[in-house]
Subunit: 233 residues, 2 copies
Amino acid sequence: MDSAALLDLLGNENRRRILRLLSRKPCYVTEISEYLGVSPKAVIDHLRKLEEAGLVESHVDDGRRKYFSIARNLRLEVNVSPYEFGTKSAYSASPNLDITSWRHVSLHVDRANAARDGREDAHSGADDRDIAALAADLEQLEQLENELSMAQRWVQGRLTDTLDRISAHFEGVDGRFYGDLLRGLACGPETAESLAKKAEAPPEIVRDALEGLSAHGVVDRDGDHWRLVAGEP
Amino acid sequence: MDSAALLDLLGNENRRRILRLLSRKPCYVTEISEYLGVSPKAVIDHLRKLEEAGLVESHVDDGRRKYFSIARNLRLEVNVSPYEFGTKSAYSASPNLDITSWRHVSLHVDRANAARDGREDAHSGADDRDIAALAADLEQLEQLENELSMAQRWVQGRLTDTLDRISAHFEGVDGRFYGDLLRGLACGPETAESLAKKAEAPPEIVRDALEGLSAHGVVDRDGDHWRLVAGEP
């Protein structure tokens, strides 16, 4: 979708709070209105704008209640520099994307890095390098930027895919809650209390869930901290 | 800076237009006001907000005229997915950053990719993989996302650095203009006309500049198209 339209939407604090809430669980209007302390009329207006932009979608459950949720993966990148004001937005790349084309991301980094090291000595001089070499650097960096953006979109798609699978694994129980716990541990060991805060769940329930995961060998405990047990690929 | 404050600032179309204009060249209030078709009072108000946030800075030239320009490199990333609404903003990484720590970015990608390929056959089944392996995927992907973000910030810093050097190389002439031309060619061959449009300059001037760069062996011509000559590192 259009980056400008997306920035207009995200420029509103209440719309950002709605998106944050929906990223935790699908919600209906009254829930959102109470959580935000904003009138249902205003919530409906925000949801309509988000739905028109394709960010949010709704479905009606068995009890005829209309639930709203985030429709799909989307990434926005904004670059501000003395030479650039650039915005880029894109849906996440397909998990089937052939990533072999940017498997050599690190090679380009090495190249750019080598070029930098080469001129370290004459850092203050402007004429120390041939203009053609600077232009070649520019070319490498632009290409690297595009590859890294594409890689980020691929990672986002894979993350959602993995969280979908985790949710499906705990079918019947609250799979999204287990996804939150595991994701909370994915950045390093945590206490049950800090995980409870992250997942916005009561600490007792988080502790029970961790004990259950521990019995299945998914997590283990080191004093007060819980951590992931490395899985076999 | 704070992502929410940044999104509030960028949520305004005229502020985005001001940033886009300042990324082409430093400007004074009357210039911006005329370009945007917005009152000087409104422009001053937008500039004040951008300056307070540290996005824009000003300096007074010899003729006592106050020029505004973009203060520094900044990146904003927004992730929207059914499981996440995440915003991340950061100043660009120092060019002196030790990038050896993420030189192996591609290795992680390979790992995640291998995991995906391994379960291609049972794509629809939820219980086809051990939950511990899914948690390990999550961990790898979170780490990869952080590394890619850091790499993108590094690239942004290097791009600005390279454009600074190109500007300095053409001291006295309009260095920024040559930077625009070379950057325009960095993504592939272009005609003088399309480059003129990109750089918002008259085609004759662009053609003259290209002929000059060609005489120095920086660019060459293939029919109607101009392209960069690969430089020696």
